[in-house]
Symmetry: C2
Subunit: 146 residues, 2 copies
DNA sequence: ATGACGATGCAATGCTATTGCAATGTTAGC
DNA sequence: GCTAACATTGCAATAGCATTGCATCGTCAT
């Protein structure tokens, strides 16, 4: 544990406090792990990636993070919910990342595409939109041939 | 069983044969039930709506229908897969109903919006689309206030 | 100190999806 | 018609994920 770790911990700690989350040791570790991910992860991924820790505690940690607007969950059709860090302007009441999620049929990873927003959809009369969820499946940039 | 029933059965039977599905008694009943639905249904809904019948057989019937392009499945985020009849031009290789699905937060029903197509999405470089799934959640026309 | 409150760990449960296998029904060839 | 192949159905079992209950533990304010 050198000064680097301390600075990292303080940074992570502030991110938790900013979202009104009590920064426990477990939560610091989980958030640190989440920031290192390039793709959305499942509870299983988290359990495997973390040191030995209780699955249910990790589950509740993710739920807490989601409630507080620190992460959002993604139903990508694989059966296991995926989680990824939110953009900064999310909070517990409202998630503001209405971006597209991409599931790669080759590497089986789920990616947030934060710069690819879901376009406005004109619904039939008297249908009122509250949330949108767009999953695109295909081949990701890393797995693209040629 | 009057002439009405016989005509109905023959109609349903032809729809199965057109999709290359062996028209068994069970399948006739399931397809008949599906045609009467206004919303997409889960396996549970089907089990409750049908007479006493085996859940697994119903499950496999839906899977067969899906393989043959007679129904498509919808992951609406509720945890239970929903099923709805396809448009006529679907087949086993390709489902052509890239329409929006709507989940009503009030009545908890999932609807196909066959006339609301998913727009083209411009993805980042080297991402290749193979499938799209857009779920919109909100308030449906029937539950709309005022 | 101690009592309240939140966080954690462990056990148990519920629900959906999926497969194995035996029994049954159906069809085509003989 | 008989029979063997094949498809369908019914029942049992399993897997996997999500979720809750409860006891324990830690922390913090009084
Ligand atoms: Mn995302
Ligand atoms: Mn549909
Ligand atoms: Zn990939
Ligand atoms: Zn409704």
């Amino acid at each position: 544990m050198g000064p680097h770790t301390i600075e990292m911990t303080n940074d992570i700690e502030h991110r938790l406090k900013n979202k009104d989350i009590n920064p426990t040791a477990m939560r610091l570790l989980v958030l640190d792990f989440l920031t290192k991910q390039v793709a959305a992860i499942s509870l299983n991924d988290l359990e495997k990636g973390m040191g030995p820790s209780d699955r249910i505690t990790l589950y509740r940690t993710l739920k807490t993070f989601e409630e507080k607007g620190l992460v959002h969950s993604i139903e990508d059709g694989t059966g296991a919910t995926k989680y990824a860090l939110c953009e900064d302007n999310c909070d517990g009441d409202q998630h503001h990342d209405l971006h597209v999620h991409f599931y790669c049929n080759t590497c089986k990873e789920t990616f947030c595409l934060p710069n690819t927003k879901i376009p406005e959809i004109s619904l039939p009369k008297r249908f009122q939109t509250e949330e949108m969820n767009l999953i695109i499946k295909g081949i990701c940039d890393q797995c693209h041939p040629g």
